[in-house]
């Protein structure tokens, strides 16, 4: 990485060579650790070396890319080539939820889990054809910048900042939570400590060099995470089927799973009520919620500021478009492998744990059982003695593991695959480093988006437009620190399910941003008043639905006509409303996830993860109607919109250096 000034074109030219060297060094490092393992270095030390080495590299890149220039800090000087920006976006995009959680979700939900796979890939089509390149031409530093310019000033800016902070903060909390889980699992740190340790790693990268540092670190993190994700599963596929392409061979695993499911039912190892066939659709989500999640994740992708701002960094509009394509290609590499993880793991569990005598189950399970992540007969599967004792306590248990005896935490699926495949510990360490890279890179991008909005949009544009550069960047860094600590604190309180939190972030972004962004570019007649009212209406409805269904479900039923969601497998209501509403805790406020009504009520049977589905159409409608009621935007503004639509020429918004 170069110093803050000079040598920029050489630097770009040498990117390929630099990252190739980096990748080679990383592979060499893995081999070195493999040798260390063979000569008897303990696993715990290997784990620390892996995590320590990778974080040190990210920190070095961060420090070397430090910058004191505004345009470098906010948009990496707009000279990140399409392919590299694609890689950085890949790391920015793929979070702990993707790396660790996705395969586990697919393991549990089977076909229905693919809603997340579809939703988290298809949205990039919308980014490219509807929004990204136009924002690049506009020349903003942040998404609220665009809103403010197109929609008449600081009211629009303020609303956009609120939307941005709400969705990014929800999301970043989930990432720091994920960082804490990985660090605590592999390094044996206490969860709360691990959260703050992970935070230090995140800050090192993003504080000093802003977008510029984050970009070059994210590329390094992408390389680590993709190698880490693909290595174990490629080896497993080669061992099992002789072909190193797991994405092709897991079709056989699925066929085997389906056959085994029938066999388990026939031999009484599973009950028809307890078994969810892997390929059968709509037994975990109703069709409405399945497609609702797909729509919300896709449109949320195209509305999340930390993703959109990555396309502000390319040299041209043309490269912004190419860059979206590269991004999805790099993301695709992980997402189309996740179902393979799920299938191989499930086959292993169904054939080598379920149906086995308690004394003969595979020993890899006990490592995770000790941590409470796998349970058999209701007790942690820490050892053979423990599970034998636990199952004896169940009346009529024959000593053979049945499906209903077995409970697994979804995080284990990816983390345990190296052991299932019988690989040395070094591969497990690699997976941990990859998971950490995924969580850190996403957290970096999100924190930067929040800090930029606060420092650029609130402080510089609204509070003190005459602030000198040094002070602007100082404020940006201080705010970054404050937001990060607040997010880490929230994460350390374990607010809940990562997937649901991430889902809410997407719905919030979708309801708040999407209609205004689309109409702002594609319909010249959109007025400032229309856009601001639309954002407030759409976002407001989405927040209302989320908060009421999650935290005030009793009030939702009593005052807002909400009813119980339906159980997709049976078509019956999830909760007996008459009974639940008669219970003394029915009208409680700020209820915990465990409350019998929390997230189980709503309108039209709509899961609150897909709340954006209510907010977005309202947003579009309000923008349309209110815009038509007002006066047409000025000729000047319409001419600006024309400018945004043509790649040639200068950016519409130009910052003074």
């Amino acid at each position: 990485m170069t110093t803050a000034t000079g040598g920029s074109s050489d630097f770009i030219k040498n990117l390929g060579k630099m990252y190739a060297t980096y990748t080679g060094t990383f592979l060499g490092f893995i081999i070195l650790l493999a040798i260390l393992e063979q000569v008897g270095v303990p696993n715990k030390i290997l784990g620390y070396l892996f995590v320590g080495f990778t974080i040190a590299v990210y920190a070095i890149i961060g420090v070397m890319s430090r910058t004191a220039e505004v345009s470098e800090y906010y948009v990496a000087g707009r000279r990140v080539p399409a392919l590299y920006n694609g890689m950085a976006t890949g790391a920015d995009w793929m979070s702990a939820a993707s790396f660790v959680g996705m395969a586990g979700t697919l393991f549990l939900l089977g076909y229905d889990g693919l809603a997340w796979v579809l939703g988290w890939t298809g949205g990039f089509v919308l980014v490219s054809i509807l929004i990204g390149p136009y924002l690049r031409k506009f020349g903003a530093y942040t998404v609220p910048d665009f809103m403010a310019f197109r929609f008449g000033g600081n009211t629009a800016r303020m609303v956009a900042v609120i939307v941005l902070v709400c969705c990014s903060f929800t999301y970043v909390t989930a990432q720091i939570f994920g960082t804490g889980i990985i660090a605590s699992r592999f390094l044996g740190m206490q969860f709360e400590v691990a959260v703050f340790a992970g935070l230090a790693g995140i800050l090192l990268c993003s504080m000093l060099g802003g977008m510029r540092a984050v970009t070059w670190t994210q590329i390094a993190q992408y390389i680590v995470l993709i190698i880490a994700y693909l290595t174990p599963i490629i080896i497993l596929s080669t061992k099992k089927y002789g072909i190193p392409i797991p994405e092709l061979t897991y079709g056989n695993a699925i066929a085997d799973i389906t056959a085994r499911e029938q066999q388990m039912l026939a031999t009484g190892l599973a009950t028809a009520a307890g078994l969810k066939p892997h390929i059968q659709p709509f037994i975990n989500y109703t069709p409405l919620n399945f497609f609702g999640i797909v729509i919300c994740m896709m449109i949320g992708t195209a509305s999340l500021p930390h993703i959109l701002m990555r396309y502000f960094t390319t040299p041209t509009v043309r490269e912004a478009r190419q860059s979206v394509a590269w991004s999805l290609l790099f993301i695709f590499l992980l997402y189309f492998s996740a179902p393979a993880y799920a299938a191989f793991s499930k086959l292993e569990v169904y054939t080598n744990i379920i149906g086995r005598d308690l004394t003969e189950v595979r020993p890899w399970m006990f490592t995770w059982g000790e941590l409470g992540l796998i349970q058999i007969c209701g007790k942690n599967a820490a050892s053979i003695d423990a599970i034998v004792a636990a199952c004896k306590a169940i009346a009529g248990h024959t000593g053979v593991v049945r499906l209903q005896d077995f409970v697994i935490n979804t995080d284990v699926i990816v983390l345990s695959t190296p052991e299932i495949a019988g690989l040395p510990y070094v591969i497990s360490g690699l997976v941990a480093a990859g998971g950490l890279a995924a969580a850190l890179s996403t957290a970096d991008g999100l924190l930067l988006a929040i800090a930029n909005a606060l420092s650029h949009d609130i402080y510089y544009k609204m509070v003190d437009p005459s602030a000198p550069t040094v002070r602007r960047l100082l404020v940006a860094r201080v705010l970054l620190l404050i937001v990060a600590v607040a997010a880490a604190y929230t994460a350390s309180t374990r607010p809940g399910d990562i997937l649901a939190m991430v889902g809410w972030a997407f719905s919030l972004a979708m309801a708040g941003n999407f209609p205004a962004l689309i109409m702002g570019v594609w319909w010249k007649r959109t007025t400032a008043v229309g856009a601001v009212s639309g954002m407030i209406a759409g976002f407001g409805l989405c927040v209302f639905y989320l908060v009421v269904t999650r935290y005030f479900p009793g009030a939702g039923v009593a005052y807002f006509g909400m009813s119980s969601l339906t159980n997709p497998a049976t078509g019956l209501p999830l909760v007996d409303l008459a009974k639940a509403m008669a219970a003394p805790n029915a009208m409680d406020s700020w209820v915990l996830v465990s409350h019998p009504l929390a997230s189980k009520v709503g309108w039209f049977g709509l899961n609150n993860i897909a709340a954006g589905l209510l907010g977005m159409p309202v947003g579009f409608l309000v923008i349309y109607v209110v815009s038509l009621m007002g006066k047409e935007p000025s000729k000047e503004m319409q001419a600006y919109v024309d400018e945004i639509r043509k790649p040639r020429g200068r950016t519409v918004l130009e910052e003074k250096a």
Binding site: G122, I129, G251, I279, P281, M298, D642
Partner: protein
């Protein structure tokens, strides 16, 4: 802040934008087909098994098929939109 080059939309700009809009709808249609329409038919599609690979087709489309389609759409779109920009002389210099 740069001032716009002209105050009204020129015919060239209009033609460029019409063609851009048509391309947008075309790809939006492809996106909708692979993102949603195919998956409406997952149950009948699952009755078909892909030879050799052994995937049920409905499952395969959601796990891989649509994803591949999205990647292809994006590279194709980048190329086609660039061609349109060049045709109307509004593309950036290399």
């Amino acid at each position: 802040m740069s001032s716009p080059t002209n105050s009204t939309t020129s015919d060239n700009d209009k033609a460029h934008w019409d063609k851009t809009t048509r391309l947008m709808y075309m790809h939006l249609g492809a996106w909708f087909f692979f993102g949603y329409v195919v998956h409406f038919f997952v149950v009948p599609l699952n009755k078909i098994t892909i030879p050799i690979l052994n995937f049920p087709l409905g499952f395969y489309m959601a796990a891989q098929g649509s994803l591949i389609a999205f990647v292809v759409i994006l590279f194709l779109f980048a190329k086609q939109q660039d061609a349109i920009d060049r045709e109307f002389g509004v593309a950036e210099d290399e």
